[in-house]
């Protein structure tokens, strides 16, 4: 994964996390509201309850990612959720399942998203590198003297009265 580690910086990972958060909510809503359709497509007609539970998990992850100050734990939670999804889908890839092609497609899709989740979590871990590479404007005060020396320089009587009109 060494090469992959260079693919996503902290800022990109933050943007990707937002996208994954909304994706999580959308997928979760689909699983929660239309479990039978999802089940039919994957040959899992009798697992509506489980599909709805997975949907609730997706929505919780999505809200966590979008609402948390630091989305990293929620992204890792998604990685674990991806593993759970793959473990659930794998037995249904049985050749006897008439929906097998769709199950294989779903496995591929989950694997792809899992990779994105991992890259995102990896990128989020690089916050310190990101801070070091940013510009520093510590010399841009705009004042001829230190801010403390300039404090109150404009506090003239006429200015105070203007403010109260």
């Amino acid at each position: 994964m060494t090469r992959m580690k260079t693919m996503l910086g902290y800022a990109g990972a933050k943007r990707l996390a937002r996208g994954l958060g909304w994706f999580s909510i959308a997928l979760g809503a689909l699983e929660l509201l239309a479990p039978r359709r999802v089940g039919d497509a994957l040959g899992m007609q009798h697992e509506s309850g489980a599909i709805q539970a997975y949907g609730a998990r997706e929505i919780a992850s999505g809200i966590g990612i979008l609402a948390a100050r630091d989305p990293t734990p929620w992204i890792w939670a998604r990685v674990i959720g991806d593993a759970l999804d793959l473990a659930t889908l794998a037995p249904n890839a049985d050749p006897r399942n008439p929906q097998r092609p769709y199950v294989l497609m779903a496995i591929g899709a989950v694997a792809g998203v899992a990779l994105l989740d991992y890259l995102c979590a990896d990128g989020l871990a690089r916050k310190e590198d990101d801070h070091r590479s940013r510009r520093d404007y510590a010399d841009r005060s705009g004042f001829p003297q230190s801010p403390n020396a300039m404090r109150g320089a404009a506090r003239e009587p006429e200015m105070v009265s203007t403010a109260r009109h």
Partner: protein, 389 residues
């Protein structure tokens, strides 16, 4: 001439358009020497402000040289060097006589539209939707300035463009935001948004004598610039704004709060921000007022909320009970630029402040579309872009 034109969401192009000409006796034509991309231009770029038409010329922060004046204009002459305020003002109406220039009653040529949208018209603005007159803006080689015998501010040749350009918008906007706070020497002033207006508000609050100025943002380089101007900084990605403000004020909260963010607030670590995004996506809300909610919550009772940040329409879930019971005062509005320009120009001339500190990027006008994106995405440490036609 070349001009940056709006063609839709995230679609600004450098087009060839007809040169402007004198239309009214009080007009002047200005040849641009410098113009800037303003944070409020981004609301147009992002498609959040209604009333734009394809081909509209952008830009409301600009300066240059007078190349032509109308027959009724006795104030300007060809060759004058002027900064043009973003508000177009007549100087004669009831509001202008009270120095409420941003709500001039005459200059919005789409008054009926504004009356319907806002109840009463506000001033015409350069390059800022047909709700405010649909006037061509100043991100161009030339611009027609209506009522040019009132608004434009003559500037001396001893000062550079970079020192005086921001008299047209962000400097008086940050200044008015601080003035509206009625700052006392014992006050803590908390400012949300370390963009250009927020930076000017920090310096203004310091000059006006605030005991403590606090800047809230999550972009490290912007926070570093705010700190340079004398602010204590809070990175909302790393710590709780409410807890830190309480720590810094002995649990009482800041007496004065300034919203230099406006309608596109986004905040990590807040459920209400998520709610706003979802509601905005469903077109059930036009603006995202996270900062307003937070200001109402943290402000010390009997404090002041000053709002220079631009809002365009409807907001939801404002804790008005807290606002009312805490006895907070809200002061807002587009900037009455000409009310402040003489005083601020004097302060620049006397060396009290040099607003050019905020410029991080200078580019050719033709490169403007690219720099809209750089500025919007806060890439490459971008805080303020100046374009040279």
């Amino acid at each position: 001439m070349k001009a940056l034109c709006w063609h839709g969401k995230e679609d600004i192009r450098c087009d060839s358009v007809p040169d402007p000409r004198i239309e009214e006796p009080r007009d002047a034509i200005i040849r641009m020497t410098s113009c800037a991309i303003c944070g409020s231009d981004l609301h147009l770029y992002d498609g959040f402000m209604p009333g734009m038409k394809s081909g509209d010329i952008m830009g409301h922060e600009f300066m240059g040289e007078v190349v032509e004046v109308g027959s009724g204009n006795k104030k300007l002459k060809v060759g004058d060097r002027v900064v043009v305020p973003f508000t177009i003002v007549c100087g004669d109406c009831d509001q202008c006589r009270r120095s409420n220039f941003s709500v001039c009653e005459r200059t919005n040529r789409n008054k009926d539209l504004a009356d319907k949208a806002f109840g009463h018209t506000t001033a015409g603005l350069f390059g800022y939707t047909h709700l405010t007159g649909g006037y061509p803006g100043g991100q161009a080689e030339y611009v027609r300035v209506p009522y040019a015998d009132v608004g434009p501010v003559k500037v001396p040749s001893t000062l550079t463009d970079e020192q005086v350009l921001f008299l047209g918008d962000i400097f008086p906007t940050g200044w008015q935001a601080a003035i509206q706070c009625d700052i006392e020497p014992t006050d803590t002033v908390a400012i949300w948004g370390a963009g250009p207006v927020g930076q000017m508000a920090v310096r203004s609050a310091v000059l006006l004598g605030a005991r403590q100025v606090i800047m809230i943002d999550n972009v490290p380089e912007r926070l570093s610039m705010a700190a340079a101007g004398g602010a204590i900084t809070i990175n909302f990605d790393e710590e709780s704004v409410v807890e830190r403000l309480n720590d810094l004020t002995g649990g009482k909260g800041p007496e004065k709060c300034i919203d230099a963010v406006g309608m596109e607030a986004h905040a990590s670590g807040s459920v209400d921000s998520l709610y706003d995004r979802a509601k905005q996506a469903l077109m059930l809300e036009t603006d995202r007022p996270h900062v307003l909610r937070e200001m109402i919550y943290v402000c010390r009772p009997a404090g002041v909320l000053s709002i220079p940040g631009v809002y365009g329409g409807l907001i939801d879930k404002i804790p008005f009970g807290a606002l009312m019971n805490k006895g907070l005062t809200i002061r807002t509005g587009q900037t009455h630029v000409n009310k402040w320009t003489d005083d601020l120009l004097r302060r620049i001339e006397e060396g009290e402040i040099d607003p050019s500190f905020v410029i991080t990027h200078t580019a050719r006008l033709e490169d403007g579309p690219e720099f809209y994106k750089t500025f919007r995405d806060k890439k490459d440490g971008c805080i303020k872009v100046v374009l040279k036609p």
